[in-house]
Amino acid sequence: MGKVLIIDITKCNGCHNCQIACKDEHCGNDWSPIAKPQPLSGQFWIGVVDVVRGTVPKVKVAYNHIICQHCDDAPCIKACPNKAIYKRPDGIVIIDPLKCKGAGDCIKECPYEGVIFFNKELNISQKCTFCAHLIDKGWQEPRCVDACPTGALTFGEEAELRDLISKAEVLKPEIGVKPRVYYIGIPKMFIGGTIYDPELDEVVIGAEVNLQNEDDGISISCKTDDFGDFWVDGLSPGKYLVTIKNSGYIYKELKADITEKDINLGDIALGKK
């Protein structure tokens, strides 16, 4: 049991309030023994990164959140030669700024990149504390969650958030370090396109589009909408065979490789039989 943070990427508008609230709380404020001041710039105890997906005109943006995962089996705790890192009973992992001697092993051993920062001036490692100094004063949530306007961030007792956690996933589950940060809606891959009839100069509505993963053979189908569009998100990476069928039209096959990035197949002319 203990505290968890759940990040719903589908509800994030990218305002960066979480990132800035963290700085408002920690830059220039000394919360020892939980945290020493964060430098005015350059550290992101919660960092938002925009990811642009697709090509004109099928483009979406997802905002990823990079933050200490407060692992129950945290490699940083074991890595610290000065025993400066500890796990609190409520699950929060703290680098004790008074015990930290700046060894930096925690940064090397952390399996999640870019969540522990080195403060050269103070010669210590620093990271998210879930605002434990506030939680200890009776706050219900850390500053990032308090400042989130859209409800993308949820903080609380693991036991009380079971429903939400059941819809979520953790980063790098395969390494088994038991993170306390959960994500909903991590972007998968999409394939999209627009189908039109060049002769009629009109979009083709209701055409049947089938996307078949060439590796596992699993296929998903949909129909083009009022704009002749198909746009299927949530696909696993891989190579796909895209087939387009509509009565009276010539059957069409296309290839789409979304191993690395989403694909907009663009405007596809469908010829009459």
Binding site: Q19, I20, S41, K58, V59, A147, P149, T150
Partner: protein, 864 residues
């Protein structure tokens, strides 16, 4: 007085302030500020239920779901990080004088923008100001003083950010006013008002209960040139964002028509139609063509609710000019395939569609913006605007002018109002001589001027037919400028020409008072340090968040920085030297004005002064009967005869008799709206000759990480990827968005420093190569601080407005034009530039916050 603050157990205290940036007696973004040992510890959203446990927020219920306010304010990032602004390294620390400006001798106007500044005492500054005002008055008369005191800024009431000096100038005998234009909704003001009245904005009025009706009855919302995730932030906060998620949740489609995948489209769009900038009129016409030829519009409504349809039909079908406005005709103009245009027309005709609009955006601030704005209304009319689910509504300014009819969400019993005690400017205090804001450069360099309409944002359509001139026959040209909103350079039009104007020997004295040494301060002769709202007592209201409506005392958070004083105090000090203090202050101290504000706000009937201060805020209850009022233009829809619009005919006018009679020869705003790619006033089309040399169109929206020119110095936003681009020289450049096709053709890589240029000048920017912008267009936001390399020619700060078109919307429409104009973009050799302009490239600079005040200090060594 409002100094009661709540003591916390640890010796700290918590106060409340509004951190919205409209500035005009209407605030939002209320925050709790925790202070300890004279230091701001944290700024966080106000939790409305902090002192009031039984609040009853309104609820909109639709399609089995509920939408209601949050129990906390939904503040934007720049309110949250406001410490950055208060402690900006670019604050004006003390009064400063331009080193080579000598009021007793050489004034060197030609050096404005290049010369440095020296520290002077408050005494010396006030002595100079008083003697200059006396001299100007004697030599030319008081109307030789131009007041620039409008626009946005921190929202303060007694210590108002803008316009405190107007009353003193009035007491001294008058002044010339720079009028507050309809910047950000010029197309609707100068165009749509001639179609449907809707005074005073030209945007649909009333909008009462529209969002509830949309939630119940609308199939799709067109966000046409509207970004709900940008402009609303500084004025209303982020309820607009929650609304967008709500619309999606209840199954309403969000369709975005815009050259860029704007921040709203990036997360909310179901469909993005990337259109070339400022070609919206052609797209509207092609849609009308499809409806007319297929008969898929509300013919009965057009018959009963509108006038002049035949003339519009003649133009659309090509009877007027021989050119049918078909989708095939519009495709090469708009850059949208004809089959998509047809699909959009058919979709619209088969669904209940409402328009969500924001201020600004690519469709409304371009050359001839009257045309797309008028066409938008005409097409809404062809689908029966006013019927359930068919509206136009704003995603911003919910409660503008403190009018309930401007609130599309459930409204409060009353809107708390401080405009009576506002010590700054008011909409009503227009003196007899004035100059439209976008003609200041012409007024100085090319007088006399003639134009139509006061151009004041709150004036009615009738005004647009009245001719005005400058200077008045019995008056004088301007010779002194007093500004407390020094942001021409980054926000106005062809501002390189403002540099030439401000360097004219006619302008003998430029006085600026501002917290930060930015933009036009670089052209001033004396710069006075004013405080931020953290540094004074005041009183505020939350009237635009859409969530709760409230009033609150705003106690001082920290002591003034450096030698700063409030704008009101500065003017008091000057008034005292003219023996006008008593008249200027009406005999009231600031504390007494704050108390008077409470009395006048409307809340005094419901909460005592003591309780008001003890609790720290008062929330106005909702009007429990809000649902009884009709939505939007429903009354007109149901019975147009008895509920006429504010047009001469009382109907929607496809053909404007008023325009025909008053401006018979105006082919740039003809009685029926037209597609006008180029004309005598503007040649900014991709099909014009100029496009051979400048083949890209600029789209320039309101900024995401600023409110116009405000907040450009914030360390914590400048770290955000889409806020600034770090150049190879370490400087943080304003981003310009380039599609990979546009960038590739010019050998520009992501992160390169590039030059954006046309005949009006050039500026540097940092390339962001992205699929969020279509080819043919480059996107750059306005408001980035001007950092001149050659003032009037070349800017490093990325102030795109230095090179916007010079002229107004059209011949007889005085809106500003700052989007949809031609440029070219090219890579630059930074090393060569640095060698050529060592002074500009070696000024003191903060690695993150950017410009620092040391860069303008005389004798300060450059870092190179």
């Amino acid at each position: 007085m409002a100094k009661k603050v709540r003591q916390e157990k640890d010796g700290g205290k918590t106060i409340i302030k509004g951190l919205g940036f409209c500035s005009i007696a209407a605030d939002s973004n209320t925050v709790q500020i925790e202070i300890k040992d004279g230091k701001i510890v944290r700024i966080r959203p106000l939790h409305y239920d902090w002192k009031y446990k039984n609040l009853k927020p309104w609820k909109i219920e639709a399609r089995g779901k509920t939408f209601q306010p949050q129990m906390k304010s939904l503040i934007p990032p720049y309110s949250l990080g406001y410490k950055n602004r208060v402690f900006s390294p670019n604050r004006v620390p003390y009064p400063m004088k331009r080193v080579d400006w000598d009021p007793q001798g050489e004034r060197n106007p030609q050096n404005r923008g290049t010369s440095k500044y020296v520290r002077i005492s408050w005494e010396e500054a006030l002595d100079i100001i008083v003697s200059e005002i006396k001299r100007i008055k004697q030599q030319y008369g008081m109307e030789a003083i131009l007041s620039q005191s409008d626009g946005h800024g921190e929202t303060m009431t007694i210590n108002a950010a803008h316009g405190c000096h107007r009353k003193l100038l009035r007491l001294l005998g008058g002044y010339t006013l720079q009028t507050r234009n309809t910047d950000s909704w010029e197309g609707w003001y100068w165009g749509a008002k001639h179609v449907w009245g809707c005074e005073n904005l030209g945007q649909m009025t009333p909008v009462t209960n529209v969002i509830s009706d949309v939630s119940k009855n609308t199939d799709a919302i067109f966000f046409w040139g509207c970004d709900p995730e940008t402009t609303p932030w500084g004025f209303d906060g982020q309820l607009a964002s929650r609304l967008c998620y709500w619309f999606t949740e209840i199954g309403i489609k969000s369709i975005y028509v815009s050259p860029d995948l704007n921040y709203g489209a990036a997360v909310h769009s179901d469909k993005w139609i990337p259109i070339l900038p400022n070609t919206d009129a052609a797209l509207y016409l092609a849609i009308a063509y499809v409806w007319m030829t297929e008969g898929s519009y509300d013919k009965e409504y057009v018959k009963t609710h509108t006038k002049g349809f035949e003339k519009f039909q003649d133009y659309v079908l090509g009877k007027e000019d021989g050119v049918p406005k078909t989708p095939k005709w519009a495709a090469p103009i708009t850059g949208i395939p004809s089959y998509t245009i047809k699909a959009l027309a058919i979709y619209w005709s088969k669904h209940r569609v409402s328009f969500a609009i924001g201020n600004g955006g690519p469709g409304i601030r371009g050359p001839y913006a009257t045309e797309p704005a008028r066409l938008q209304i005409l097409l809404l009319a062809m689908q029966g605007v006013g019927k359930p689910g068919v509206h136009q509504f704003k995603m911003i300014e919910w409660g503008l002018y403190n009018k309930k009819t401007n609130i599309p969400l459930p409204h409060p019993k009353y809107v708390p109002d401080l405009s009576d005690v506002q010590r700054g400017w008011r909409y009503t205090d227009t003196p007899r001589q004035f100059i439209p804001k976008n003609k200041i450069h012409d007024a100085i360099l090319r007088p006399p001027l003639k134009w139509y309409g006061t151009t004041l944002s709150r004036d009615s359509t009738d005004q647009q037919f009245i001719p005005y001139q400058y200077p008045l026959p019995d008056s004088t040209e301007i010779h002194m400028i007093w500004t407390d909103s020094p942001s021409w350079m980054s926000c106005w039009t062809d501002t390189n020409d403002f540099v030439r104007a401000l360097r004219s020997p006619k302008i003998e004295f430029v006085l600026a008072q501002h917290p930060w040494f930015e933009n036009d301060c670089l052209l001033a002769d004396i710069v006075l340090p004013s405080i931020t709202k953290m540094e004074c007592d005041d009183i505020g209201v939350e009237t635009m968040s859409g969530q709760f409506y409230m009033a609150y005392p705003e106690p001082k958070a920290i002591e003034p920085r450096g030698e700063a004083k409030s704008n009101y105090q500065i003017v008091c000090d000057i008034a005292a030297r003219f023996n006008l203090l008593e008249e200027y202050t009406d005999g009231k101290s600031p504390e007494e004005w704050i108390r008077a504000g409470y009395e006048a706000s409307g809340v005094a009937k419901y909460i005592s002064w003591e309780e008001f201060n003890k609790k720290g805020y008062y929330i106005v209850p909702n009007d429990e009967h809000w649902q009884e009022q009709k939505a939007g233009l429903a009354a007109f829809y149901e019975d147009p005869g008895n509920n006429p619009l504010e047009t001469p005919s009382g109907k929607i006018e496809f053909y404007s008799e008023r325009l025909a009679v008053n401006f018979p020869a105006d082919n740039e705003r003809p009685p029926v709206p037209h597609w006008i790619p180029s004309g005598a006033t503007h040649q900014e089309s991709l099909h014009s000759d100029r496009a051979k040399e400048y083949p890209l169109l600029v789209e320039s929206n309101h900024p995401r990480w600023r409110v116009h020119s405000q907040h450009d110095d914030m360390t914590w936003t400048r770290e955000i990827h889409t806020c600034k681009v770090r150049g190879q020289d370490g400087y943080l450049y304003e981003p310009v968005w380039l599609n990979p096709i546009v960038a590739g053709a010019r050998h520009i890589k992501d992160g390169d420093v590039v030059k954006i240029y046309n005949e009006r000048g050039a500026l540097l920017a940092g390339a962001w190569v992205t699929e969020r912008i279509r080819p043919g267009v480059v996107y750059i936001e306005h408001g980035s601080r001007w950092d001149p390399i050659i003032p009037g020619e070349l800017d490093r700060g990325g102030a795109i407005n230095t090179i916007t078109p010079h002229n107004t919307t059209s011949k007889n429409a005085s809106g500003m034009v700052c989007s949809g104009f031609l440029v070219e973009v090219a890579g630059v050799d930074l090393e060569a530039l640095k060698k050529k302009y060592p002074e500009a490239f070696n000024r003191p600079y903060d690695n993150i916050a950017g410009l620092v005040v040391e860069r303008v200090l005389h004798g300060e060594k450059s870092r190179g």
